[in-house]
């Protein structure tokens, strides 16, 4: 990675969108991928000298493609870039000072001055989700969750203030062996576990293999998502799909918590239809493995995701309310058409 780019880098330096994106993600652990992408694009626009609409859109398109290519799993971030692009087009089309008749510099100024506002709103939407979602956690119930979703964490924290409940936290043991993936030497989600415990919430941590065993003790499953796709399914941390299947089989409600800016316009038909390369299933014979351990860590790197189809999801708790999976497509249609 290039030298850390400050949030307002030198104008003379050529703007590197990928580095900016990575830097943004690293500098603020609370930032989600779509918002980091939007933020990076805003910075890009404020640095670019373009003054016409088509020039801007072209630049946006190119940088987006570049960014998507350079990131191993661009599903989450593409939600942000799409949203930003549509927003720009809609703003430019509508009458008013920001529209075609208006001053193009005005929109640039608006974006620049509001970059922080976007991020704050994105974080606020987590509070809103927490407010919507509190009702799903009842006194005396047990919640099963997984991954390191910040929305789930904030929901559970909020609920902890007023309810007594227990949490079963599914931790991925693969990550623990995988030294370099987590710089703190911590399993993903462990921090949430610690915070919840500090708040007096009894938390049990279980490995992924114990989900079926433990699910009988849980009343509700709440998971986060990296992206919510068009048919209402979710793209999420590897292992979510199996939790969904098990929850369905056991008749437990399976709720997804996600901000509405994570809605992304892809329509995966199954696990192997996601627009990303994941080498999860690696067939090997003895001669393929010169030194065995290297190959295995790839399959368990932090970025692998799976797709949970909509029929496994009871409801999506978003900042625009509690939605059924079929409501997702409508939200998407609203911004695209």
């Amino acid at each position: 990675m290039a030298a850390p780019t400050p949030t307002a880098p030198d104008v003379t330096k050529p703007f590197d969108i990928v580095a900016t994106y990575n830097e943004l993600l690293r500098s603020d652990p609370d930032l989600t991928m779509p918002i980091a992408a939007i933020e990076a694009l805003v910075l890009l626009l404020t640095h670019s000298p373009s003054s016409t609409i088509s020039e801007t859109l072209d630049l946006l398109e190119k940088s987006t493609t570049h960014l998507k290519k350079s990131i191993p799993n661009p599903i989450g971030l593409s939600a942000g870039t799409d949203l930003f692009q549509r927003y720009l087009i809609t703003t430019l089309q509508r009458p008013g000072q920001l529209g075609p008749a208006g001053d193009f510099n005005a929109i640039r100024a608006h974006l620049l001055s509001n970059g922080r506002l976007f991020i704050r709103r994105a974080k606020e939407s987590r509070d809103k989700i927490a407010a919507f979602g509190r009702g799903f956690i009842r006194d005396g119930s047990t919640v099963l969750t997984n991954g390191g979703s910040r929305v789930v964490a904030s929901l559970l924290q909020k609920a902890a203030d007023e309810k007594r409940f227990k949490v079963i936290y599914v931790l991925s043991p693969a990550k623990a062996n995988d030294g370099d993936a987590s710089p703190g030497g911590d399993v993903e989600g462990m921090e949430t576990v610690r915070e919840l415990r500090a708040n007096g919430v009894p938390v049990a941590t279980i490995p992924e293999s114990a989900v079926a065993y433990s699910l009988g003790k849980a009343d509700v499953v709440i998971v986060g998502a990296e992206g919510v796709v068009e048919n209402g399914g979710i793209v999420s941390r590897m292992g979510t799909y199996q939790i969904g299947l098990l929850a369905k089989a056991m008749g437990k409600p399976f709720y997804v918590v996600a901000e509405s800016h994570k809605f992304v316009r892809i329509y995966p038909l199954g696990q192997y239809d996601l627009p990303i390369e994941q080498h999860v299933i690696n067939y090997q014979t003895a001669e393929d493995i010169p030194d065995g351990s290297k190959q295995q860590s790839l399959a368990h790197s932090s970025d692998v995701v799976d797709f949970t189809p909509p029929h496994l999801i009871s409801a999506l708790i978003t900042d625009s309310g509690v939605l059924t999976p079929s409501a997702v497509s409508e939200e998407l249609i609203k911004i695209w058409f």
Partner: protein, 430 residues
């Protein structure tokens, strides 16, 4: 505070009569006590009583200020809902009326909205604006505006704070800048809202006929239809189809709460129940139209289900996730139908559709008079055992194939859309 002025037994009819003469506060208290004592219990009766009461409340409010009207309706609504939280139609009607007031207030302001938009975008983005009004950002798209300026919910992240995000609750900011003309043209919001409530009341009266209009699409010749309890909506639906087609109805009674009413429906001997005193009571039973009606106890449902072509159910209320709360025994029937892959059709007026999400299914179930199960004369037995008489069942959405409302047929997963069409998001928890 029982209704003293009327000699009739307390119920909808007597309540509506007393509404004309009693002062508002007495009327509110009356309805609250009627709801609490369950002297008004059918969904539609509750809805009608609520609508008429709100009509009185609004017409007694001597103000044209939308904010004050909303406040007044909210405070009355809160008390009514608190009186009987399981009667969700009460809350639904209150929400619809609140939505009406908001619509009228916004229509009024719409012209000003477009004008003030251009000027206000250079306004500093105060955090207050987003905090207080972020909810209204999401609801703008429900307004019938055509311009692209309506923010779309996902864009709310990026968009400006609304130039005019004020709810009618803050009317000070609602006055248009420099458009005094627009203000003098302001129509009488109160009159419009009263008209709107009148429409809701009309809708409550027509809802069964509207639903019945879809009957011929769903009931075919020589089908065997299974139904449960004595829902007037279902009866209307079947009668409408019976006028044209011959089919068989298996009618499951629901002992101990509804069996007498079911028997009456089947035999056509409606008791003189003034709460339902309307055209339905004078209806011919299905048998007179040449329909074979088979009355069975609901314990026999599973045995007969394999022969049934379609299950048509009435409901108490419908929830936003597509589930429903209906008379006890409904879930068994829906489950049996699922096992036999028999389609389950639920007929319900839109007024029963509640934006409430069922977080806690158990809290939706109402428990009734235990003496109906075991009369208290059986003192010995009653002492030794715990007798329960749940009145309702929660039926999850996946057990229902189709909802027929007065707007047409909908899949359960589509109900959220109808909810967002009928209720404003800011009113969902008022």
């Amino acid at each position: 505070m029982p209704p003293t002025s009327v000699a009739l037994t307390p119920g909808l009819t007597s309540y509506l009569k007393s509404l004309k003469t009693n002062p508002i506060d007495t009327s509110i208290d009356n309805l609250i006590s009627l709801l609490k004592r369950r002297q008004i219990r059918h969904s539609r009766s509750c809805a009608t009583a609520t609508a008429y009461l709100l009509l009185r409340v609004i017409s007694a409010c001597r103000t044209n200020d939308a904010g004050k009207l909303i406040e007044r309706v909210q405070s009355v609504g809160r008390r009514l809902v608190a009186a009987q939280p399981r009667e969700m139609v009460v809350g639904n009607i209150v929400r619809r009326v609140l939505g009406l007031i908001r619509d009228e207030a916004e229509d009024d302001r719409d012209a000003d909205f477009n004008l003030s938009e251009a000027g206000s975008e250079s306004q500093p983005q105060t955090p207050r604006a987003t905090d207080d009004h972020s909810d209204s950002l999401f609801t703008r798209h429900e307004r019938p505006t055509v311009s692209m300026s309506t923010p779309i919910s996902m864009f709310s992240l990026l968009s400006h704070p609304e130039p005019e995000p004020s709810l009618p609750g803050t009317p000070a900011s609602a006055s248009p800048s420099g458009r005094l003309l627009g203000h003098t043209q302001t129509k009488d919001i109160r009159a419009e809202v009263i008209d709107g409530i009148g429409e809701i009341i009309d809708e409550l009266g027509q809802v069964d006929d509207q639903i019945a209009a879809y009957a011929l699409d769903h009931i075919h010749s020589n089908e065997i239809i299974l139904t449960h309890t004595s829902s007037t909506t279902v009866q209307r639906f079947l009668l409408k189809a019976a006028a044209k087609r011959k089919f068989t109805v298996i009618h499951a009674e629901s002992y101990p709460n509804n069996h007498e009413a079911t028997h009456a429906t089947v035999s056509g001997n409606q008791p003189a129940d003034e709460e339902l005193l309307s055209t339905e009571s004078f209806q011919k039973p299905l048998t007179e139209l040449g329909i074979t009606v088979i009355l069975i106890p609901d314990s026999a449902v599973f045995a007969l289900m394999s022969r049934v072509n379609k299950v048509i159910l009435g409901t108490h209320s419908v929830l936003a996730n597509g589930g429903l709360v209906a008379a006890a025994g409904t879930r068994v029937i829906a489950r049996a139908a699922k096992v036999h892959q028999t389609p389950v059709v639920v007929v319900s007026g839109v007024y029963k559709l509640s934006p409430v999400y069922p977080f806690d299914f158990d809290s939706l179930i109402e428990y009734g008079d235990a003496s109906k199960v075991i009369p208290f004369e059986d003192g010995d037995l009653v002492d030794q055992i715990d007798v329960q008489n749940p009145l309702y069942d929660y039926v999850p959405a996946e057990l229902v194939d189709l909802y027929i409302t007065n707007l047409g047929g909908h899949a359960p997963s589509y109900l959220y859309r109808i909810v967002s069409d009928h209720y404003r998001r800011e009113d969902i928890s008022f």
